[in-house]
């Protein structure tokens, strides 16, 4: 996993996953919130929102739009941008989409996002990850949820930061160094 590109991609997945989880668990899943701010209906919407929902359904290969996107679609322009970032972050690139779903599952599990954990587990399985592969991600997530707390409790200082090689490549599209 050498080269900064991979790590930038991973960071984007982590960020947008957390953003979706915050809205999914903290807003879209709460009846007290949706009673006051109802999500946009699946059907009978204006054309831009309908196209957005169609794209989301196609990307996830499902017949419904995840509630978080219907909630965000209360502001269609905002929802479109969040979706564009989500689609970009999760699309196949240097990292494969199925692995990105594994990262998102680990992030969701670690941050106790009920919606994110279930959603990304479903995506992992849909994209062909087997039970053993899921358990591997759970194992790594659990073990590093232990190491991190041991390190924090003892306030250990980083001592392995220099074991990875430095990537001297320029920014994408930038002049050579």
């Amino acid at each position: 996993m050498e080269g900064d590109h991979l790590w930038y991609e991973a960071a984007h997945v982590v960020g947008i996953t957390n953003a979706l989880n915050v809205a999914a668990d903290g807003l879209a899943a709460l009846p007290a919130v949706t009673a006051l701010l109802p999500p946009v209906a699946e059907t009978g919407v204006d054309q831009p929102t309908g196209e957005l929902f169609a794209e989301i359904r196609a990307f996830y290969g499902r017949g419904d739009v995840p509630p978080v996107f219907r909630f965000l679609a209360r502001d269609p322009a905002y929802a479109a941008d969040v979706w564009a970032a989500t689609r970009r972050a999760f699309g196949d690139n240097k990292l494969a989409r199925r692995f990105k779903e594994a990262l998102a599952f680990a992030v969701s599990l670690t941050s106790r996002s009920e919606w994110g954990t279930g959603f990304h587990l479903g995506e992992m399985k849909r994209l062909g990850v087997g039970d053993a592969g899921v358990m591997e991600v759970i194992g790594v997530t659990q073990m590093f949820s232990s190491y991190t707390k041991i390190a924090d409790t003892l306030q250990l200082e980083p001592d392995m930061g220099d074991i990875a090689p430095v990537d001297d490549s320029p920014a994408p599209g930038g002049p050579p160094r």
Partner: protein, 84 residues
């Protein structure tokens, strides 16, 4: 600053020092001193032993590569806001 005094490798008994050598091959890096976490886990072999075996089992290549698992570990550490 750590809340405990991290012992030098030479302060540990032989079995622990052998494990420190193994950590070099695990990380494929010639550490000047064993990583702090290795020294912490060696403090109580009855805890560190099974914990380390569980970690090695979890990190072994399977459906995901070791590199992919290191990335999962990194994002979990990030979400846990752990700088170590």
């Amino acid at each position: 600053m750590p809340t405990v005094r991290l012992r030098d490798a030479s302060e540990y008994p032989d079995p622990a020092r052998k494990l420190f050598e193994l950590s070099k091959s695990w990380f494929n890096h010639d550490f000047k001193h064993p990583p702090a976490m290795s020294r912490v886990m060696a403090w109580d072999p009855e805890f560190g032993g099974p914990h380390g075996r569980a970690m090695k089992r979890a990190m072994a290549p399977g459906e995901w590569s070791r590199g992919e698992k290191e990335m999962v570990a990194a994002v979990v550490s990030g979400v846990n806001a752990c700088a170590y």
